[in-house]
């Protein structure tokens, strides 16, 4: 039986809590960091992407993140001395993924760093195999959890709520309905063996792709292969939707604002939403982007709700006693607490205290760091995954069916809501 002392020591011994501490350390030091180096756009010469003056900032970032992560490993009584020499290799693969995704044509297709990080990791692990020494730096969960807490800071409730009815209606009414529909369709109609996979695909489809998939997979403690599958499908379909939705909207002569709201509510990646919105003009792009931003707030709420449901219902022994509040708290993924805390601190404490401009400055740094951690996570997932295992997860094509049916439902429902909200039906026109 665990004592209170054991539970308190979890604050500095468990990965969940360390993810929270490390993210808040990074938030605290963010004002002192001028910028986070990121490979710039290039056309034919990859070296244009990382000019010589970027080497020192990249090296500093690598050393800083490596040392910070190994600090957590020291407290968690793991092996930082094995982690430190392996970390630069994972970091370099992450930088290469950023570089490839910064190529102008590739970038225009919407193939971002997550795609390349996964692909490079998968290629290495499925051809030469991930070297044993490298595995010490393959810390998928830790990178994801730190990245998620950093993401929490970017979810500003106050800004989103100030946007008014139409966007909120499109983003917030459809999303919970689609998530619920997809979860029950996957588990009851398709009878998918893994509920975690069903909810992860549902989150990726209905909220905002990669980030939502990561948050929900973390909240229900899904397997890495399940996350890889959900993210892989969402990355491919995002490109298809980015290409074909503006064409369809133009072809049928749909009102551009309704079209913008429709794309904002359905295309998974934020970058792809902006790109597709731009095809319909500046106004449609603004509406698409804002609907997407409002929808992004759902990541935190969904992650929290899924974590609670998993602890209290799904993972609970149906014949066992009802878990006590203490037991629920004990089993609750603590980085979700950090995620929500970061969002609350930025929305309700920092924004009123230091102002929008200062918060935006902080978020530029934390966003850069968050991308680094997510990229490290995807490299790690790739290095740990095998095509055979991914094939098993695809069992009978059920995940793909779930994605396609769910996305079709999402498209239909969002279109109706976009018409109701932006087509002059529900909201009075001045």
């Amino acid at each position: 039986m665990e004592t209170m002392k054991d539970r308190l020591s979890g604050l500095w011994k468990t990965e969940d809590w360390w993810a929270v501490w490390l993210a808040f350390i990074l938030f605290a030091f963010a004002p002192l960091v001028p910028s986070i180096p990121k490979p710039s756009k290039w056309v034919s010469d990859p070296l244009e992407s990382v000019p010589p003056d970027m080497f020192v900032p990249l090296l500093t970032l690598m050393i800083g993140l490596g040392l910070l992560t190994s600090l957590a490993l020291v407290f968690m009584k793991e092996k930082p001395l094995r982690f430190l020499p392996a970390f630069p290799v994972v970091f370099i693969i992450a930088v290469l993924s950023f570089m490839v995704s910064s190529q102008k044509t590739i970038n225009a297709y919407g193939l971002g760093y997550a795609f390349w990080a996964l692909l490079v990791g998968l290629l290495v692990s499925n051809t030469i195999g991930t070297p044993e020494r490298l595995k010490a730096a393959v810390r998928t969960e830790l990178y994801i959890k730190i990245g998620l807490v950093l993401l929490g800071g970017e979810i500003l409730f106050t800004k989103m709520l100030a946007l008014g009815g139409p966007g909120l209606l499109v983003a917030w009414v459809v999303t919970p309905i689609v998530v619920t529909f997809m979860y029950f369709f996957g588990t009851r109609t398709l009878k998918m063996a893994s509920r975690k996979l069903a909810i992860t695909i549902a989150a990726a489809t209905s909220v905002c792709g990669v980030s939502a998939a990561i948050a929900v997979a973390g909240a229900c403690r899904a397997k890495k292969d399940e996350l890889t599958l959900a993210v892989g499908m969402t990355l491919i379909f995002t490109v298809l939707m980015m290409v074909f939705m503006p064409l369809a909207i133009k072809a049928v002569g749909m009102d551009v604002l309704v079209g913008g709201a429709w794309m904002g509510g359905t295309i998974d990646s934020t970058g792809a939403v902006v790109a597709a919105g731009a095809m319909l003009g500046q106004e449609a792009m603004n509406v698409a982007a804002v609907v997407k931003m409002i929808q992004n707030v759902m990541i935190g709420l969904l992650g929290f709700v899924v974590a609670v449901l998993w602890v209290t219902r799904v993972d609970r022994d149906p014949h066992g006693p009802k878990p006590s509040p203490m037991e629920i708290w004990y089993r609750f993924p603590k980085f979700i607490v950090g995620f929500v805390a970061a969002s609350v601190v930025f929305s309700f404490i920092l924004t009123p205290a230091i102002g929008d401009d200062a918060v935006d400055g902080l978020l530029k740094i934390s966003k850069g760091l968050r991308s680094c951690f997510f990229c490290l996570a995807f490299v790690s997932i790739g290095l740990e995954s095998s095509f055979k295992e991914l094939g098993k997860q695809m069992a009978g094509g059920k995940p793909l069916i779930l994605y396609i049916v769910g996305q079709s439902f999402n498209l239909l429902l969002t279109l109706i809501m976009a018409y109701v909200a932006f087509g002059g039906i529900l909201f009075g026109r001045p």
Partner: protein, 75 residues
């Protein structure tokens, strides 16, 4: 050795796809969005943090839509 050959082959294939197929494919009429992305070099992050910072453009767009002909409830 076989693994390294596979890795080399896969990398070469991806390189050829990115270097040769993707640019040619982007000329297809249906891939207008890709060409537009290349021309405008849209940076979603910069867009969110600068262009849409105070959301005034969004509000303007909604307001303009509200008064647009054919969208009004007041028929």
């Amino acid at each position: 050795m076989k693994g390294y050959l596979k890795l080399f082959g896969a990398t070469l294939l991806i390189f050829l796809l990115c270097y040769s197929v993707l640019p040619r494919l982007s000329r297809a009429p249906c891939l207008e969005v890709v060409r537009s992305n290349m021309t405008h070099d849209l940076d979603a992050t910069a867009y969110f943090y600068t262009e849409l910072d105070d959301f005034s453009k969004y509000e303007q767009a909604v307001r303009r839509a509200s008064t647009a002909e054919g969208l009004s409830n007041e028929k």
